[in-house]
């Protein structure tokens, strides 16, 4: 159903009846309460702030317990989130508390992408819930809801104004989660400076259009206290887990050479106000807002992205089923078309390469023929030369023989002459 309460019976005729006696359905809220108590509650807090600003200490102080935590180093390469889940119990109420810490926020030299891991984490939690909601067999009552209900943004107490990183990050987060800005380590600002600082921060947030969480004022039981608290935003808090003796009591405080800052003293800091607002009065409202406003916004954007609409061009209401089927078919046909294209491309490529290879073969063949011819020519020439050489040799031999016989026949002639 939509976020606003729809009056189901607006079209039908309503009559107000008076009861004759006590029926007993005024116990309905009690039944609801006992059911939710047995179910247990869950609450998720996201703490965003630079390293060392006091996030872990404040969580320890708020819930009056020591959550295990190692100190983070300043030299992380990027921002990453560290969620930790704890089971707490007070009276007979069980609370599954998840605290998500941003590690490495504000430490890098280039902080342009610092907000991205945070936004991604919040979206992932919404996505998980959406997936669970869209399942066929779902168990929402059993589902561990990890959506962030509240983001506490820790502002460094410079006394001047917001830092540029703070402004950029809060603008990215304000449409996804309830933000409560708080001024950390507030024991370094004096009263007058604090007043000016708060005004400056609020005016900067307003002028840049950042929507922070406003405590609800529509419920008469809490509207008065809520509206007065709205005027005290952002809360200036001091956290401490150490106890110091003040008067004759041990209170949580920070001991300085010049005095003792008591955490729960309203004139020292706004810690008590934060605890009231966050835990004692508005916790349930925060969960509701997360579900009704931020989650619904995310869901609508996501589904619209996928192409779903509530009504088709003819203004006839669509059912999710039909749209889903239509989308699926479209998607599959798209897929097939792409496959065909790729196959076509592959075939074309193969043909091209084949043709190229054939060209190359032919060229090589031609070259071979040419070389062969050259070889033949050379051979012929050499043959001719050899024949010439042989002829010359023969001629020479003949002359030699002729010369020899001539010299031989000469002495014979002499002999012949002598005989005569």
């Amino acid at each position: 159903m939509a976020a606003t309460d729809v009056d189901v019976f607006s079209n039908e005729e309503k009559r107000n009846l008076n009861l004759g006696g006590h029926v007993g359905f005024d116990s309905l809220p009690d039944q609801l309460v006992s059911k939710s108590v047995t179910q247990g509650f869950c609450f998720n807090i996201l703490c965003v702030g630079e390293t060392g600003i006091g996030k872990s200490t404040l969580m320890n102080t708020l819930f009056n317990t020591m959550f295990e935590n190692e100190e983070a180093s300043h030299y992380q390469n990027g921002v990453y989130l560290r969620p930790r889940t704890y089971d707490l119990q007070e009276s007979n109420v069980h609370l599954k508390l998840t605290i998500v810490d941003t590690v490495g926020f504000g430490d890098q030299i280039n902080k342009e992408d610092s907000y991205k891991p945070i936004v991604d984490y919040i979206d992932t939690q919404f996505e998980n819930y959406l997936q669970e909601e869209l399942k066929i067999k779902r168990s929402l009552y059993n589902y561990h809801d990890t959506r962030i209900h509240i983001c506490l943004y820790f502002i460094a107490p410079t006394g001047h104004s917001l830092k540029s990183l703070d402004l950029v990050t809060m603008k990215k987060l304000d449409s996804k989660v309830n933000i409560i800005p708080i001024i950390a380590k507030a024991d370094t600002i004096s009263k007058s400076e604090l007043h000016k600082f708060k005004i400056k921060i609020m005016s900067e947030l307003v002028s840049n259009g950042v929507q922070i969480y406003q405590f609800p004022t529509d419920d008469e039981a809490v509207s008065e206290i809520n509206s007065s608290m709205n005027a005290h935003l952002p809360f200036a808090v001091v956290g401490s887990v150490e106890e110091v003796k003040v008067g004759n009591k041990m209170v949580r405080a920070r001991q300085y050479p010049w005095g003792v800052v008591q955490v729960e003293n309203e004139s020292h800091c706004d810690f008590v106000k934060l605890r009231e607002m966050l835990i004692r009065v508005n916790m349930e409202d925060l969960r509701e807002q997360t579900h009704a406003r931020h989650y619904e916004l995310y869901r609508r954007c996501k589904l619209e992205e996928m192409g779903f609409k509530d009504t088709d061009p003819d203004s006839q209401p669509f059912s999710l089923q039909e749209t889903y089927e239509a989308k699926r078919k479209e998607f599959l046909s798209d897929l097939q078309r792409k496959e065909e294209e790729m196959r076509q491309m592959f075939v074309n490529k193969v043909k091209e390469t084949e043709a190229e290879l054939k060209e190359k073969e032919r060229e090589l063949h031609d070259k071979f023929e040419q070389l062969k011819r050259m070889h033949q020519d050379e051979k012929k020439k050499i043959e001719e030369k050899r024949r010439d050489l042989e002829e010359e040799m023969n001629a020479f031999n003949r002359r030699k023989v002729a010369a020899e016989t001539l010299s031989l026949s000469q002495p014979l002639k002499k002999d012949k002459d002598k005989k005569n």
């Binding site: 300043h74 280039n110 902080k111 460094a156 540029s164 402004l167 900067e204 840049n208």
Partner: protein, 376 residues
């Protein structure tokens, strides 16, 4: 006889109680023990100058600290930017010059401010304008020093840089480390922990140890106090030791005067107490002031002149001569050229020959040993 008495009287008049050596009453007294007085007199007449740079993120109390240090209001009509305007801000360099005087001693103080450092979302190389500025001042002094007319050289070199470390973290941040590494060879860096009134004494100690370890780990050379001579008195040595163990100083600044313990002091008023700036158990402001102004101001100037400026000058000259050797041209901006350093090629050859020689020597020794063993 009269002339000598006159001479003695003159010397007596020139001497002030400051002279420590005892005056000898015989004629062998020369009188150069008055030199310190002469130096003092001349320097008072000439006046001093000092350039201080402050750097660090916005909102750490730099302006307040400078005002507290020099007890003036340097930043009267300052305009602070909004967060939106700072998203893409670049670093500017702003100089404030004031002439202040105390007991006849004049000081021309220049404060170099660096608004916008570390403020943008992307702070890549945000220290570059600062290093460029320091190099510019060195270059200008270099030219003036090498020029023909050296009568009125203005010394604008930065003598000291106070770097403010945020107390809200667990130690040094990457941008702090990069800044200090880019500047430690150009200027004396004095790191400070700002807004120390948000840390309890334990936390201060832990943070100081952490910062000291990280400075050593990253090899950053911050300004070191000079060792005191062994003939100084014990009190001075003790003070010096305390000073060295206290770095980096954890400071608090204040522009307002409050009433505490019956006195009017500079401090910050909180609902739970009053922080006094000049109370040594509250913060290290007094130590910083003493170090910066009362004892080490001149040493800072000396280190800048003798170490950082000379490094710059040697580097500059080497670059110029190597370029000249390559271009083989005779004109240069400097009228007198110092001896050219041997260029890289010959140096390499020399090194190679040295290594060869060493190798041959080793081989010779080995052979000798072998022969010796064979004989045995």
């Amino acid at each position: 006889m009269d002339a000598m008495i006159l001479q003695e009287k003159l010397v007596e008049r020139l001497l002030c109680p400051r002279v420590r050596t005892a005056r000898q009453k015989d004629k062998q007294y020369v009188g150069f023990a008055t030199l310190p007085n002469q130096v003092h007199r001349k320097s008072v007449k000439k006046g001093f100058d000092f350039t201080l740079m402050v750097a660090g993120e916005s909102g750490l109390g730099k302006s307040t600290l400078v005002n507290s240090l020099f007890l003036t209001d340097l930043y009267k009509d300052r305009k602070l930017l909004n967060a939106e305007e700072r998203i893409n801000q670049t670093v500017e360099i702003i100089k404030h010059t004031v002439d202040i005087e105390e007991k006849g001693v004049k000081l021309k103080l220049t404060i170099v401010d660096t608004p916008g450092f570390g403020d943008a979302v992307n702070n890549n190389e945000c220290w570059k304008p600062i290093t460029d500025y320091i190099d510019q001042q060195f270059e200008q002094y270099f030219r003036d020093e090498s020029g023909l007319n050296r009568k009125n050289i203005l010394d604008n070199r930065v003598h000291c840089c106070l770097y403010f470390i945020s107390p809200f973290g667990h130690g040094l941040r990457p941008v702090d480390v990069e800044f200090m590494k880019a500047l430690h060879e150009k200027v004396n860096i004095v790191p400070l922990i700002a807004k120390a009134d948000c840390l309890t004494p334990n936390e201060i100690k832990k943070l100081k140890d952490r910062v000291r370890d990280e400075i050593e780990k990253f090899g950053i050379k911050v300004y070191q106090f000079p060792e005191c001579d062994s003939d100084e008195d014990e009190e001075f040595k003790q003070m010096d030791k305390e000073l060295k163990e206290c770095t980096p100083f954890a400071v608090i600044g204040s522009n307002t005067v409050v009433e505490a313990r019956g006195q009017r002091v500079r401090g910050r008023l909180y609902p739970w107490g009053i922080v006094e700036v000049e109370n040594q158990s509250h913060c290290d402001f007094v130590k910083l002031r003493n170090m910066l102004i009362r004892s080490h101001m001149h040493d800072l100037k000396d280190v800048t002149c003798d170490v950082h400026y000379e490094n710059y000058r040697a580097h500059c000259i080497q670059e110029m001569t190597s370029k000249l050797a390559q271009d083989n041209r005779m004109d240069s901006p400097i009228p007198i050229l110092p001896l050219p350093t041997p260029d890289l090629e010959t140096e390499r050859l020399i090194k190679m020959k040295d290594e060869e020689l060493k190798r041959m020597q080793e081989m010779l020794e080995k052979m000798q040993q072998q022969m010796h063993e064979k004989d045995q």
